[in-house]
């Protein structure tokens, strides 16, 4: 039998080293998106939008055309691109500070218009880049640099569940929440990302995959403890699953 490759670095990524902290699961998600673009033969038609936050330099990591967007505005930038180039693949890569807070308006209206774009929404319940401040997705009781005594519901409300919210919008085609805390869930995450990009190729409309991710440095724990913390604390509040699949609901045509 000849030698065979089981796993190697995808051509969908550049050779640049990720700038993320050790154990940060952004790197896993980058790799999955890049692998999907290659496997669906979309890489050369893809235009990605890097947002503001830890993933701002995603434009150096994805091996396709990239544009960097202002904080929260990636869905608007993606709209502008897609309306000019409807046959290209357009995706945004946004964190929870970017998408769920300052960019809450842009993502809601992009979904509402059913823009034929794919949003990769990385939810790690904190602002990572700026030093671990409270995000709209920070859990009740979670300590951050701006909720040093733990997030209080009475002062800040409950954490926003973005997938549940966007699933109520008629224009949203496909919304799924997944996680990357262990290999089985990494495999599921890749399937979800693939489905989203497939739907975009079929011009089905707005797709978003919310991916629960760790920020061990921001959370103040080791990378391995962060995986456990995600599973034990985030998943109960942010249940995994498909929140909307209009293509499946309406029957594939």
């Amino acid at each position: 039998m000849p030698d065979s490759m089981i796993f190697q670095r995808t051509k969908g990524l550049t050779d640049a080293e990720f700038t993320y902290c050790p154990g940060c699961t952004h790197g896993i998600i980058h790799r999955l998106v890049a692998e999907v673009l290659v496997e669906l033969n979309q890489l050369e038609d893809a235009i990605g939008i890097a947002s503001v936050g830890c993933s701002v330099m995603a434009y150096d990591f994805f091996n396709c055309d990239m544009q960097q967007a202002a904080h929260g505005r990636a869905p608007a930038v993606a709209t502008g691109i897609k309306r000019c180039l409807p046959n290209n693949i357009v995706f945004t890569y946004q964190g929870d500070g970017d998408l769920a807070s300052i960019g809450a308006g842009e993502v809601v209206h992009a979904a509402h218009r059913s823009e034929n774009i794919t949003i990769i929404f990385v939810n790690n319940a904190i602002y990572g880049m700026t030093g671990g401040q409270m995000a709209p997705t920070t859990l009740i009781g979670q300590k951050t640099t701006t909720s040093p005594y733990g997030r209080k519901k009475e002062e800040t409300g409950d954490p926003i569940r973005v997938s549940e919210m966007l699933a109520t919008i008629p224009g949203a085609t496909y919304i799924e929440r997944v996680s990357v805390h262990n290999p089985a869930h990494v495999r599921k995450t890749k399937k979800a990302i693939k489905k989203a990009f497939q739907y975009q190729q079929e011009k089905r409309g707005f797709t978003m995959v919310e991916i629960l991710s760790t920020c061990n440095v921001g959370w103040g724990m080791s990378p391995l403890d962060a995986l456990d913390w995600l599973e034990e604390n985030m998943i109960p509040y942010y249940p995994l699953g498909v929140y909307k699949d209009k293509v499946k609901e309406e029957g594939r045509q």
Binding site: M1, M5, I6, Q8, R187, P223
Partner: protein, 74 residues
Amino acid sequence: MKNKLTFDVDRCKGCELCIRACPVNILALDEKRVNIKGYHPAYIMEPNKCIGCANCALMCPDVVIKVERVKSDD
């Protein structure tokens, strides 16, 4: 045939995600080495026991690990 892991050692940040992902517990940080970044890099302690599941590579956030099936040396 056997399974072969290759680590891009200088890209490893020593986060240990691969170590936990390994179902046969044959990965560890090499505490005798320090890579260019200043981390103890991950390595395979018992190469012959690798089952080629690629779980380590799936979890590695820095895409450090390559997994191949190659001819055995013996």
